[in-house]
Symmetry: D3
Subunit: 123 residues, 6 copies
């Protein structure tokens, strides 16, 4: 796999390692507000009247229109774990593109690139 | 119903009338790009591998985190038409709140206010 | 006081009444994520190693650059309660203007208008 | 002219009066940073290697994608003064729509509504 | 040319290669909405009552205030192809800076860096 | 120090060198608006009725909610120079997180990472 697969410069493994290391450092500071926010963030995507898959798609599209690559990567990982199909992914991304406009396109490219990386990892 | 029900200053009927009148004026200009965008916007939410209800929830949460009251109103109307329940609505809004932060709260208030208006209209 | 004092269309009293009524409706839904977020939002501005006044100024400038008039109004009310001076307010707003650019100006106008309303109310 | 012409709730005359009154109050505070920013904002659109009309279109589209109705109104007034045609306006707006996405549509409606108001005022 | 020319980590050649590869993968998915959006995006900047150069400047400033480096890079390439002068570029960027504020500065730095790269490539 | 300390790909030294080099190139262009904006940006954070430390915290939180890593890095450097404590930093960041939502988290991680780098540099 050539280097240019990852324009964003880090692999999924690097993304996960960095995320875990920095989350641990942040939570270790014992700031009440930060720690509660992180806990709440986790609760947000648990199953309720909406299933987890739908909630992850909502998180994904929200992250896409707000153009946060790392947030998109996180929700793509979770969508893959929840069994979102490639066609379901592309329909979700298409909503993000139409709502958010062409400014979303570079993030869409990186999202599709990441999805390919996830497919290869699970293949 | 007292005036302060609508902090946003216009009822659903007024929202619809204004939207239709201005859309007609925009489309009547026959600008190719604008007209194709409006047509594409309509296609985006048609049933595919994701059902219409899920797509409308995606449009709703995207609109909420981007903090566009009129877009939220539009998707709330469509969610109501598609049979989204009050509990499903609140779970979707909660994702928008956590992703977008407290800056979303005023839009959340107006969204819940609109939903009540839609419930009363269909009651 | 003439009508054009409030371009935003609602007085401080109306803002407070609407905010309280809708917050009550939202919290009454007993959605765990929403209710915890609202509780956490309250905790965020409590005194810590930073005093409440500084925290409110941080909330104000964050709200200004994100261009949320209702959030700005809320923090202006709290700043007035905490004894922020007019000169301190304008220095804080000037930082928001430079960081956020001329797109912030209409929100700056409404913020200054609100501040005058708060000064008159406490005068 | 019926009331629903102005969903945004204020006429061009009211917009101008409010803008002038609040600008005067802000500048009267003699905050160095604010005053220099306002002066700089004025200089930005003066003729240079780009003519004033092009600069106003740049300011208009920037305001549209950032979704600031008051900023859009201001640049529409200036575009009308500089002789921008209706077709030039719509092409500029179409770029803002494609770049910014469907979230821009409510602001596009109000922009087209304002333009009609400007045309009638000069007719 | 030293490494630090490209803080963004990829050369123009890499930008183009990645863009083409991912666009091909996206379009190859045959998602109707995505493909129509990409086609429409291309149409948006074609000559009309506004010339292509003006449209590219509008796309550039819109991308700058929305702070999308890849979108800025794309429009810089097109501006260079359309014969935009260095002085015209800087005036356009200055409008983006004043509208969008100091938060735009890091993107302005990278835009000016890219422009130098384009000048050297065509020199 | 391993490579993954800097997910953002550049050290503080590289950040400073790039910033200085590009600022020099921008100012060297002698564009009146750009140069005045840069001068004004510097003035914004000078001591007034608010002290420099408070102003830098305001700039930091504004940059965090607008999600500009380079702007956050700049204000972190200045906060460290002004003697902001780790606890004061985390309280400020927590306000940015609650206002801006989970979309801020990746920027929060990088901010905390940078702060560690600054602590080690001054240790």
């Amino acid at each position: 796999m050539s280097d240019d697969t990852h324009e964003h410069g880090n692999s999924l493994a690097e993304f996960r390692a960095y995320r875990e290391r920095m989350n641990a450092e942040i939570l270790g500071e014992s700031n009440l507000v930060l720690n509660r926010f992180f806990a709440l963030d986790g609760r947000t995507y648990e199953a309720g009247v909406l299933d987890v898959k739908t909630k992850e798609l909502l998180g994904l599209v929200a992250s896409l229109v707000l153009r946060c690559d790392d947030c998109v990567t996180y929700h793509l990982i979770r969508c893959a774990e929840e069994g979102v199909s490639r066609a379901q992914l592309f329909e979700s991304l298409s909503i993000g593109l139409v709502v958010g406009g062409s400014i979303v396109i570079p993030h869409l490219r990186r999202a599709v690139d990441r999805w390919g990386e996830l497919e290869r990892a699970s293949g």
